[in-house]
């Protein structure tokens, strides 16, 4: 492997088992993939009795069991954890991983899960407002403080938060719609969208980024691949990401991405991804 691939892998956490997840992460690191990512879900959406791995715990363990790959939630749901607590979890993970955390964040999209668990899940507009506030809260706390910051959702008063993560982890907003792309451009350190939503929303993200007075070269933009139904059984082996990874990557790089995040659902997918590096 001459150069590390600009491709990271989201390792399925629904219908997943922690030992398998970690073994997959180790194999992908050894094969040269850029990062490993974990969903933030608790329940299967069809069969609700399938095993589900909790994302933050498995990423923290992966930090200890890997040494090179980036690690990150793809993406953490702002409704699931208090952002001040998330800020501290993330700064600790950034330090424990030697600076390998990328904090993907989003507004969630599985209302039944929240209803079942009694976790608030307001309308998208409020969740987006909360996400924007949460990003500001997290960034403010990552200065160490003391921070006093009024907020309709997450006020801080004389809040200290040491150690300061150095560098602060990039915060990437997963935004499939124009509003999400704009939010990313306004306040985040990057943006991700799946293949189907990437090209149409990229200009919206870039416009918002420019309006915020920040520069594209300081951002990270990811394109995601899930191969249809994210909870389905599609194999990655027959996808362009395995058949011709370099050409596929170059197509998305030319479309404006800095990296890709592809979904692995099975040991066969991990095998296929590992073999695909021969074609890189």
């Amino acid at each position: 492997m001459a150069d590390a691939l600009p491709i990271g892998v989201s390792i399925r956490t629904i219908r997943s088992e922690p030992g398998w997840w970690l073994e997959s992460a180790r194999r992908l690191e050894a094969a040269g993939y850029a990062g490993v990512w974990a969903w933030d879900h608790f329940i299967g959406q069809q069969d609700r009795t399938v095993p589900v791995v909790e994302g933050w715990t498995i990423l923290s363990i992966a930090a200890a069991e890997t040494s090179r790959v980036t690690i990150g939630p793809f993406v953490v749901n702002v409704m699931n954890r208090h952002p001040a607590v998330l800020a501290r979890m993330a700064s600790t993970l950034q330090i424990a991983s030697g600076g390998r955390l990328i904090l993907g964040v989003g507004i969630g999209g599985h209302p039944a899960e929240h209803a079942a668990y009694g976790i608030d899940f307001p309308e998208p507009r409020e969740r987006a407002a909360r996400l924007e506030e949460a990003i500001q809260v997290i960034k403010a706390l990552w200065t160490g403080g003391p921070v006093t910051r009024p907020s309709p959702f997450y006020p801080l008063e004389d809040a200290h938060a040491f150690p300061v993560p150095t560098p602060p982890p990039p915060i990437i907003v997963g935004g499939e719609k124009p509003a999400g792309a704009r939010l990313a451009g306004r306040v985040a350190d990057g943006w991700s969208a799946f293949e189907d939503n990437f090209e149409q929303n990229l200009p919206i993200y870039l416009e918002a980024l420019e309006a915020s007075g920040r520069r594209r070269e300081h951002q990270r933009v990811y394109v995601g691949w899930e191969g249809g139904d994210w909870l389905g059984d599609e194999d990655i082996a027959e996808s362009p990401w395995c058949l011709d990874p370099r050409a596929t990557w170059e197509r998305w790089r030319d479309a404006g991405a800095d990296g890709a995040i592809v979904l692995a659902r099975s040991t066969a997918d991990i095998d296929a991804l590992v073999s695909a590096t021969d074609r890189w």
């Binding site: 909790e54 933050w56 607590v85 501290r88 424990a96 040491f162």
Partner: protein, 280 residues
């Protein structure tokens, strides 16, 4: 090390780097200590710029870095994480650690931290009510579900939570008051106790167990030394669990503690504890 006494450690998360914290866990495990615990705090009560590691992230990393010790928060503050999210974090940690997770859980006691971070912190009675409901909800969720639970603080509606942890982690209730030991006795798998006040509360704990129709021998009492005071190195090197560990542990067993844990703040403390194992 089958004959090692049940003496464990709380590794202070204040003023220590993440790598060093994990190294302490590995060294103390290798020396024969029985358990590694971490406080659930974000800000020091003294100098608020002291670096503080987030406990769940570190405990998860420790699950990968160790292979024998039990691992748990001492104790997780019930106000800091949503109970259902905590249930899933905990079941993932239990699975990955091979069943070495013990969940210490309490009502917190540092209002300034919550105020600074904008995390709810109602009066003790309300936090205790939330603790009771959380313990019930955790146990229900750890069956896999579906669970419906109508509490004042916790609401679950046909909630699924797979895979159930095997076995479910023991829940030790952190308690330093008569009301607290009643919760431990009625709902816990044990009591996470601090040395201060222990000898006055222990008879009340046993009374409350008897009143609840539960047997002391089915419970686990873990007694912590050195959390708040005695911060000098001399305190630890002169502690009876260090100078005459077997005799002191036998005495504490007689007085109602099944396991004793010592607070570790510095690398010198680690060296002191490793040297003390010569006297086991």
């Amino acid at each position: 090390m089958t004959d090692a006494p049940r003496i464990g450690v709380v590794l202070s998360t204040l003023g220590v780097g993440a790598g060093e914290w994990l190294e302490r866990a590995r060294r103390l495990e290798a020396a024969g200590y029985s358990s590694v615990w971490a406080w659930d705090h974000f800000v020091s009560r003294g100098d608020r710029t002291t670096p503080v590691l987030e406990s769940w992230t570190m405990l998860s990393a420790a699950a990968a870095s160790t292979g024998r010790v039990t691992i748990g928060p001492f104790v997780a503050n019930v106000m800091n994480r949503h109970p259902a999210v905590l249930a899933r974090m905990s079941s993932t940690l239990q699975a990955v650690s091979g069943g070495r997770h013990v969940l210490g859980l309490g009502i917190g006691g540092h209002p300034a931290e919550h105020h600074a971070y904008g995390i709810d912190f109602p009066e003790p009675a309300a936090r205790a009510a939330r603790l009771r409901e959380t313990i019930r909800a955790l146990r229900l969720l750890w069956t896999g579900g579906p669970v419906t639970f109508e509490g004042e603080h916790v609401r679950l509606t046909e909630a699924y939570a797979y895979a159930p942890p095997e076995p479910p982690p023991p829940i030790l209730v952190g308690a330093g008051s008569p009301a607290g030991v009643r919760i431990a006795a009625e709902l816990g798998d044990g009591w996470a106790a601090e040395a201060e006040g222990f000898f006055e509360l222990e008879p009340r704990y046993r009374e409350a167990l008897a009143a609840a129709g539960r047997r002391r021998e089915d419970q686990r009492v873990v007694l912590a030394f050195g959390a708040w005071r005695h911060k000098t190195p001399e305190w630890l090197s002169q502690h009876a669990l260090v100078t005459s560990p077997r005799e002191e542990l036998a005495r504490l067993n007689e007085l109602g503690a099944d396991e004793a844990i010592l607070t570790v703040r510095t690398t010198d403390d680690v060296d002191t504890l490793i040297a003390a194992t010569d006297r086991w």
